[in-house]
């Protein structure tokens, strides 16, 4: 009798809260897209901004976003995965490893502006001769540091959950530790590793403050990693905040949402490719 009443009440509560939350989330999407869709056009996607972003398009920002994201991931993913492999497979669980992990956890919660400051002081200023000052490279190095903790942590977890039996089976076939790692452990852990990478992409794609300090924010089309660039998020920030061109900002935001959506789908695709065999 009583549990039944509770059950019914909870059903209502859960449905309402569930639907409400989702409604709010979807509303935000709808709001942004509805405000931004108006200005969207082929020109918007393929032209450079004019009049401080009040006119023209977002082409360089799209290109900048892609270049920058790819470079960052290309640097962070291998390094982070390698570090995770070292921590999980090649080191004993001692104090050092534990403190490294703790430090790593700390850093994953450090606000990105701090990374920006570091990047500005170190990569932009100190290593100017190498990085070219404000540049995709400086930004990517900063971004790499920003997302390394996330990638390391996720990769670690993913590698840890690879069933021991897989590794043992491989070793028992006479494979070396390295062969086992490359052919069995990493492919099996790939979906989890990718989750970390996706989270990382999400973080750098959405960050503005840190990259204003390191990536520069030039609206010119970057031609090399030594050029500064502007990501969509930065572009949105500048157009909305400095210029106050809200409509342009919302249009750029719509484009950015599309980019995130595409990246998500892509990541899911890759993840599915790898996990094609791990589900029945």
């Amino acid at each position: 009798m009583k549990p039944k009443t509770v059950e019914n009440i909870m059903k209502i509560v859960l449905w309402t809260s569930g639907l409400a939350t989702i409604a709010v989330l979807l509303m935000i999407l709808a709001y942004i897209v509805s405000r931004g869709i108006g200005k969207l056009s082929i020109d918007f996607l393929t032209q450079s901004p004019r009049r401080m972003g009040m006119e023209g398009g977002v082409y360089p920002a799209i290109v900048g976003t892609v270049y920058f994201t790819l470079l960052t991931i290309a640097m962070a993913a291998p390094l982070g995965i390698a570090a995770a492999v070292y921590l999980t497979e090649y080191s004993k669980e001692n104090f050092l490893v534990k403190s490294i992990r703790f430090g790593n956890d700390m850093l994953s919660a450090v606000p990105s502006i701090v990374f920006g400051l570091f990047g500005f002081a170190f990569f932009v200023t100190r290593l100017k001769s190498v990085t070219g000052g404000w540049s995709i490279l400086s930004g990517a190095l900063t971004g790499m540091l920003m997302i390394l903790p996330v990638i390391i942590r996720n990769a670690e977890e993913a590698i840890k959950t690879v069933p021991r039996e897989y590794k043992e089976a491989s070793l028992a076939l006479g494979a070396t530790k390295e062969q086992t790692l490359i052919h069995v452990t990493l492919p099996t852990a790939m979906p989890g590793i990718l989750t970390g990478v996706i989270l990382g992409i999400g973080r750098i794609i959405g960050e503005t403050a840190a990259f204003l300090l390191t990536l520069g924010g030039s609206i010119l089309l970057p031609t090399s990693v030594f050029d500064p660039a502007r990501t969509l998020a930065m572009h949105i920030y500048i157009t909305a905040m400095e210029v106050g061109a809200m409509d342009m900002a919302f249009s750029a935001a719509t484009v950015l949402i599309a980019v995130v959506l595409i990246l998500n789908l892509l990541a899911h695709g890759i993840s599915n490719r790898y996990s094609r065999f791990s589900s029945r």
Binding site: V110, S112, A121
Partner: protein
């Protein structure tokens, strides 16, 4: 191979550590110049007058974070329960990617939304209820909390849902087969079993709430003042760094901003230690 891996590990870890060191070195002088106590508990922040007290911002950070958790966590967990236990499969399949998408949306966009949608709403509310606060701008703890709550909810929902889903069906069926109702099962079995995952999600969300810069700046009002109601505008620690760093002149002002970073660091470390305490306690019970 092992050496290469070690170099990678060392490289990534040390560079990541460097940042901590960098912030510390850059920010440490402020404590000698102003004094740790004055810095942390000082009420006034006015770099042009050489006043560097960040206490209102610490409170602002705590207030927005707390607000975000209060607003976001229960609702997110309920939503997660809804998605994992109650929602029809098809609905779940539709909603989940949407939630994932929201987790990947940049904070500027949330800020834009907050600034153009939420703040005016709150302002209207304040105008209708003038007693709420003398400053009726809409920029407020509430706005920041709501935006943060919305921002962290995809994270919490996703993690909590995964945790709930990974509770072995065995447990749930065991409970149901004893004549427990669905809610009894969820409450007594599934939630406790998923606790660590949910806590991890919450901690992650909290980390994001504490560390979030851009969206907060855009809706919080950034007034360096002790918040006396949820309608007070406030400035957070991260907001302080992000707002002023761009124009701060080298020297005390910059150091003060880095010092803010150190305090932020310490707060995050404390939160993490606290969280891992809970986490470990929970793990020990199993």
């Amino acid at each position: 191979m092992k050496k290469i891996l070690f170099i990678c590990a060392a490289l990534s870890i040390t560079s990541v550590m460097l940042i901590g060191l960098f912030v510390f070195i850059e920010g440490y002088p402020i404590f000698t110049k102003v004094g740790f106590f004055n810095f942390v508990f000082g009420q006034k922040w006015s770099p042009s007058d050489n006043l560097y007290g960040i206490f209102p911002m610490i409170c602002g950070t705590l207030a927005t974070t707390l607000g975000a958790l209060i607003l976001g966590v229960p609702l997110s967990i309920f939503t997660a329960i809804f998605l994992s236990e109650y929602a029809p499969k098809k609905a779940e399949r539709l909603i989940t990617p949407a939630v994932e998408l929201l987790a990947g949306i940049p904070s500027v966009i949330y800020g834009l939304f907050g600034m153009t949608m939420l703040v005016p709403l709150i302002r209207e509310f304040q105008k209708a209820h003038p007693s709420t606060n003398q400053i009726q701008s809409g920029y407020s703890v509430l706005a920041a909390s709501i935006i943060l709550a919305i921002m962290i909810s995809p994270t919490i929902i996703n993690m909590a849902k995964d945790a709930l889903k990974s509770v072995p069906n065995d447990f749930k069926e065991g409970s149901l087969s004893l004549g427990a109702t669905k809610w009894q099962t969820t409450w007594h079995i599934t939630l406790p079993a998923a606790k660590s995952g949910i806590i991890a999600g919450t901690v992650l969300g909290m980390g994001r709430a504490i560390g979030e810069t851009m969206a907060v700046i855009m809706v919080a009002g950034n007034t360096v003042k002790f918040p006396d109601s949820i309608f007070s505008p406030i400035r957070t620690l991260t907001g302080n760094i992000a707002i002023e760093m761009a124009y701060a002149e080298a020297g005390t002002h910059t150091q003060a901003l880095f010092g803010t970073g150190i305090i932020l660091f310490i707060m995050i470390i404390l939160t993490n230690i606290f969280a891992s305490r809970i986490y470990r306690k929970d793990a020990a019970a199993k």
